[in-house]
Symmetry: C2
Subunit: 141 residues, 2 copies
């Protein structure tokens, strides 16, 4: 998030926080990864109430970081379609660990059966996410 694009350090945690260390970026990733949102207006529907200028900034940063691709909708060139790249899909284990930590320590809305799946069948969940993004058709409905 540094405007002059200088690294604070070469620590992998610090570098990662320069990419997604803010209150909103991982929510956009969540919506791409778990809610199959693909268009700007879809992300605006997130219940946390992301502002459109914040959303535009985060999508641009994610695209610049190689985590998201932006393509034109096949039948409506005014619309953009956002998708996770391989680098983006590989954020799944981080998000899963965040969900499990919060479910243990905070009062959350995470359903018990989904938590059990994340905890006990993580490899399958990650493979499903990967398949959903790699084999995705060009124009989602």
């Amino acid at each position: 998030m540094d405007p002059v694009n200088e690294r604070r350090s070469d620590c992998p945690i610090s570098l990662s926080l320069e990419v997604f260390g803010d209150r909103w970026t991982l929510l956009v990733i969540r919506d791409l990864m778990f809610k199959n949102r693909r268009q700007f207006r879809d992300f605006l529907r997130a219940e946390e109430g992301i502002a459109s200028n914040v959303l535009a900034d985060r999508l641009r940063r994610l695209t610049d970081a190689g985590i998201v691709t932006k393509t034109q909708h096949l039948t409506d060139a005014r619309r953009s379609i956002y998708r996770l790249t391989q680098k983006g899909v590989e954020l799944a284990p981080i998000l899963i660990e965040i969900v499990l930590w919060a479910a243990r320590h905070e009062r959350t809305a995470a359903p018990a059966e989904e938590l059990a799946q994340l905890r006990d069948d993580r490899a399958h969940v990650i493979a499903s996410i990967r398949n959903a993004h790699v084999g995705e058709p060009e124009t989602p409905t």
Copy 2:
């Protein structure tokens, strides 16, 4: 990080980001977890150059969130000792996944042998972190 302490939503990812969704908080956790830093002046030495007002704010928020405890140094009451709680220690899997993701996708300073250990012997690394924090003496040197 919301000043009025209102949740944006009950989503576990959103709740977690309200606790550590910023550029600095997980670096303080990193220093507690992997570098055994315990005192205010130690955290200020982080190579990312955290400002003392930011550090004081983050330590206060982490203490409020039950992730860090603050106690007085036994022989010098002016000094505080910060330690991870059980809730804080359980952030380890998140940090490990962040390290592994960055090492795959960014140019980092993470040593290859440490990465291999995180990847192949994660349970042992997490157990070591837990033991180091649970069995820690009251007054570190």
